[in-house]
Amino acid sequence: MYWEGEKECINRDALKQLQLERLQSTLFRVYMNVPFYRKKFDEIGIDPDDFRSLEDLSKLPFTSKDDLRMSYPYGMFAVPLREVVRVQASSGTTGMPTAVGYTRNDIKNWSHLVARILMAGGVTQNDIVQIAFDYGLFTGALGLHYGAERLGASVIPISGGNTRRQVKIMQDFKTTALMCTPSYALSIADTLIETGINVNSLSLKYGLFGAEPWSEAMRQELEEKLKIIATDNYGLSEVMGPGVAGECLERKGLHINEDHFLVEVVDPETLEPLSAGETGELVITTLTKEAFPVIRFRTRDLTSLRTEPCPCRRTFVRMNKVMGRTDDMIKIKGMNVFPSQVEAVLFEIEGTEPHYQIIVDRKGAIDELTVLVEVSESIFFDQVKKQKDFIDLIKTRLSSELGISVEVKPVEKRTLERFEGKAKRAIDKRKL
């Protein structure tokens, strides 16, 4: 089922033409209306009138999160404020906030793009959608909200937090689709177990999760615990919000709404474009945004692209699940380590809970990586020998996955912090 089938299944040649047309007019508009881009283009001698091919994209300058911060709040807007009908701010996971704006057309397009992704994830107008993201400046909740309404679903704008109430509303309102971060979905699942609520008594069918990286193992866990089909979706406020990309029911990568966003994957160090299949930093150029267009925005999210055709017949390329952020990347003993790698290993080991924390510290001149992991009571209180073997198993598996030696400390269930929004998995105590 498609929300805008003709567009989502457009033939690739027609898509390329559309992208070129939209990019050409976007370049002209940012050059005319955003001093930042005019200056940057002039500096490196780019004449927007001379931009003739999508292949020339790599000649354009990047836009970084810092560029947006420097122009906080309104410096990057391409239209006067009187044409802006909404202002949101980035969730500020890292550092200072950035403000973004939307015109009426931007809001309309945003709603349609989210509706596409919801439908790709199985949601229809017959669904009852519980949105457990925080409403407010963060784009997640309102973006999904408008999309779900556009789709015709019944929306419960419950916002984040108060997990018991989430469960009660879920029971009373017969929620069929849950939208939140995967880590919060896991908290909800745990609360169901704690309070002895049989998941079969709920009406849940779909979970659409996003806003943080999560593993395939986590998906399996959520699907089993909540009896749902769980899909991943992707977006960021600097580019629009949710609705940039989302999985179809094949669940093998997220289709990017390429008629509105032009994507590349580049090497985060050299900034050279990478080819399909290679992992690097996702870079996005908006093609239709009126109020807040961005050229080659560096998302800091690490992923790779898949160009092979998808059985769902959507022709948009897919990005693999985001495996981490360039700034979540922990450089330790010369290796790049991502929390998502740790998560994937823990999920595979019977007896561990999917709650963990990574602590990096420096003893003398040597970096040490310690993983705190919650373990099931049965194992924690068992004989010492067995416990030691179990810890060793986790150690060995983590060390071989990460390529460095790892310390593992088991902790009791429910001793690590739970997250209602984005999870913060790694703590770096090194003084660098």
């Binding site: 033409q17 003739r52 091919s53 404020l81 009187r82």
Partner: protein
Amino acid sequence: MLILKNVDVHYGKIHAIKRVSLHVNKGEIVALIGGNGAGKTTLLRTISGLIRSSNGSLVFDGLDISRQSPDTIVKKGISHVPEGRLVFKPLSVEDNLLLGSYNWYSLKNRSEIKDDMERIYSIFPILEKRRKQLAGTLSGGEQQMLAIGRALMSRPQFLLLDEPSMGLAPTVVKEIFRYIVELRDTYGLTVLLVEQNARSALRIANTGYVLETGRIILQGPAEDLLLNRDVQRAYLGRDVDYTI
């Protein structure tokens, strides 16, 4: 159906069309709007081969037409209704229509041509009433219908319409636009419509392009362009409140 990629047109030293890319899908009306001197007419004349592009590609139905002669382009199925209608005023309505079929006219085809003419009379009944009248004696609206009818006589799949509303009274404009919609919906024609009357054009169009000093500065679904404040300010004559 029609795809333009990076088309440049020069008049001597004047760069009249700057790397314009646009496309028209089969069965759609696409509106090309913009102020005086933006290059709208130049672009239409480039498509129909009356002016040569200096750069870029023009592909119609998979075929590069950038170096084809105007009469070949008519034979491929593109018909041009020029700005100011340009009907042959001293000739009768019927003769004007007949001239439109010059690309396939022969004595053998006489009965087919007659059928086509009847079909055009059924679309524009007023033309049948005036068939023997000299074109110069028709009203502006009737001349516009005649110009469109004449273009249809070449059996096109694709119509280039240049300012069909020019100089017509508002009620007549409405009528002409109704006909354009009918040509798309009933006869499956594809239309590239150039208009100063941006609002009317965008209301009937599927998608739109805004041309300014030779460049496309905006493109998108027609309904989005109607909502866009730049378009409203510049082309829809809407007063914009400057108080914040």
